[in-house]
Amino acid sequence: MHEFAQQIVSGLATGSIFASVALALVLIYRSMGVINFAQGEMAMFTTFIAWQLIQMGMPVWAAFATTIVIAFLGAVALERTVIRPVERASQLTVVIVTLGLLIVFNGLAGLFWGYVIKSFPSPFPSAPIDIAGVSFNSQDIGIIVVSLAALGLISLFFAKTKVGLAMRAAALYPDQSRVLGIRVSWMLALGWGLAAAVGAISGIMVAPVVFLDPNMMQGIVVYAFAGAVLGGIESPLGAVIGGLVLGVALNLLGAYVDFIGTDLRLPVAFLIIVVVLLVRPAGLLGRVHVKRV
């Protein structure tokens, strides 16, 4: 019983990692209708930038803030140069370009900073917390809180601000939006920037737990995708909830279902993605779309 509670709590902690990355994924999807396969690597790369700034003497919080800004601007620039030419091309082309970015960012990170794992200072105080024998860390709570806060801000942004509305319009109805005077191209760039900023935040939160190296996001990104799909790939709230649920589910399955054990987590994530997409593509919280024929 005690172990059970621990598995759930640990699952929430791991799930919060998935949730924060899933949030960035959903942002890109909402603003562009494409899945950015490079999201994890971009987050990792910006985390390295933060690390570098700290190494160069910048105070930790200043480094974090600067990194988020750099991530935003960098992603906007990236979208303008690399994505924009293929904005109107096929899905396949965009997928390939994001795959290319994945490879480039991973390689650059390795080139600049090497592959030895590095410690990364946590933005949260790291205090072990023990409640009735179930232990976790204040860091884990911090990740959930920040993810929820980011989620709240993003939801507000999309629902209540003019720019947010314009972004949603640009993603769903690009042609009509242009007619209405919305600079669709710039909305996409903005979407990228925001997603990268959220990605930078998730990287900063996650690196203290999983340690910083160019490959740190590769496992996480699959689970983040699964969490996002589970929760609803168009829903930021779904992303967070999906990530948390996935974390818990994987832990429980791993600990109590012998057949699955701890080594079949990735296949389970894959199954979840497939089953959800087949049965209820909108995920738990997404809106169901009706395809007009």
Binding site: E3, G11, I17, I117, V209, V210, D213, N215, G219, T262
Partner: protein, 413 residues
């Protein structure tokens, strides 16, 4: 038009067959050796998931540069061609063939990885190209010496390391209940096998084992399961990142087992990181083994081997992390390579190099004091001993005499 094209193709194909029957020139025994140069080659994962280990190859390269700057080996400079195989066996196979047949290397040295080296082993043995000082702790390099005499490892293998731990447990706490967390690959499985073997009839002491994948974000779930088993001893057969996570999670979950830790994860940086997040309890009392000097241990500051290491790092890898033990391991391999080449004297042929590799009795400046690198034609375990050490307030302290694990295994046969 079409008909004559067909005929042309047919003739061309026949001609191709005829031409390709020209026998391939067999590889000459002194490829890669000139009066001024010895060319050796190897593969390392500079990119891809295993890239953290590429520091080993870099350490070796730095040592060779040092040797070259001090006159080389019997007047010859060592050229070390180190290629990136991304830890992918098909790449390793192609690159190794390229090194042997195009770059005409004298020997393959220090290639990294159990899978990659397994893939190239038959080819190299068939061609009579020495496969020297493999960077992998698998026991097969030594176990299969009869079948593959041109292949030789270097580091004490994981299996025998686990045997040392098993012996220690049987001696110190024969009623233990053992839990194991291990990486789900060759590395982890070798340890598992060694532990089970070392415990022998007492293998039932293992009450629970949990594996992790390198794609897992953390191992808190595994630790929770292992803790719930009621075990009082925990084996951490993990690579650095997961070792830190294991130590931290164990401490945070309020579990205080006797921990045995794989010696790939004991560098000062790793122990320090674990202590910082998990507290002193996370690391105090951890038992492991050492076979090379720990560059992060202050007591080594005046050791000549350490000083050599530092000198080489400062000059050739100034941006490298000094406390990353992998560079030092790479230099240790390279020292043995140079030793073997040196002892060849004037007869720098593959057969002779192999003979020298089969008759090592070397004091390696980078090795743990007292551990010899020694081999014979039937013994391709160059390093069979290790020192059992215990972590005490920031340093690993030796707990007794060196233990020869292979002797234990042999005695049981």
């Amino acid at each position: 038009m079409v008909k004559s094209t067909k005929t042309a193709v047919g003739i061309a194909a026949l001609a191709a067959f005829a031409l390709s029957t020209v026998a391939v020139t067999p590889v000459r025994a002194d490829d890669g050796v000139t009066p001024t140069e010895i060319v050796i080659g190897g593969t390392d994962p500079f990119s891809g998931p295993a890239s953290a280990y590429s520091s080993i190859g870099k350490g070796s390269a730095a040592y060779f540069q040092y040797v070259n700057d001090h006159g080389g080996v019997n007047g010859r400079k060592i050229t070390y061609k180190n290629l990136d195989d991304s830890y992918s066996p098909p790449q390793t196979v192609q690159l190794t063939r390229q090194l042997v047949e195009d770059d005409k290397v004298f020997a393959i040295f220090g290639s990294l990885g159990t899978g990659p080296n397994t893939a190239i082993r038959p080819y190299l043995n068939q061609k009579g190209v020495p496969q020297l000082f493999i960077a992998s702790g698998a026991s097969k390099w030594g176990n299969e010496v009869a079948q593959y005499p041109w292949t030789i490892g270097w580091e004490p293998d994981y299996e025998s390391e686990a045997v040392i731990y098993a012996r220690n447990i049987l001696k110190e706490k024969p009623n233990s209940k053992i839990a194991i967390i291990y990486q789900n690959d060759d590395f982890g499985n070798d340890y598992l096998r060694g532990l089970t073997r070392g415990l022998g009839s007492h293998a039932s002491m293992i009450v629970k084992q949990a594996s992790y994948e390198v794609t897992d974000p953390d191992v808190s779930s595994q630790i929770a399961s292992l803790k719930a088993s009621g075990a009082d001893t925990l084996m951490i057969f993990a690579t650095p990142k997961f070792a830190i996570q294991s130590m931290v999670a164990t401490a945070q979950q309020g579990w205080k087992p006797q921990i045995y830790l794989s010696n790939v994860s004991i560098s000062e940086a790793i122990m320090h990181a674990a202590t910082k997040v998990g507290g002193a309890d996370a690391t105090n009392g951890i038992i492991s083994t050492q076979f090379v000097k720990d560059p992060g241990d202050p007591k080594n500051a005046n050791d000549p081997g350490y000083k050599l290491y530092k000198e080489i790092m400062d000059k050739y890898i100034p941006t490298g992390t000094l406390s990353d033990g992998n560079y030092l391991v790479g230099m240790a391999f390279a020292y043995t390579m140079v030793d073997v080449l040196q002892r060849c004297g004037k007869d720098v042929t593959r057969a002779n190099v192999m003979k020298m590799a089969d008759s090592l009795n070397e004091v390696n400046p980078f090795a743990y004091p007292g551990i010899l690198v020694s081999t014979s034609a039937t013994n391709h375990f160059p390093m069979t001993s290790a020192a059992l050490v215990r972590y005490d307030n920031g340093r690993f302290i030796p707990t007794g005499a060196l233990i020869d694990a292979r002797a234990i295994i042999k005695a049981e046969k």
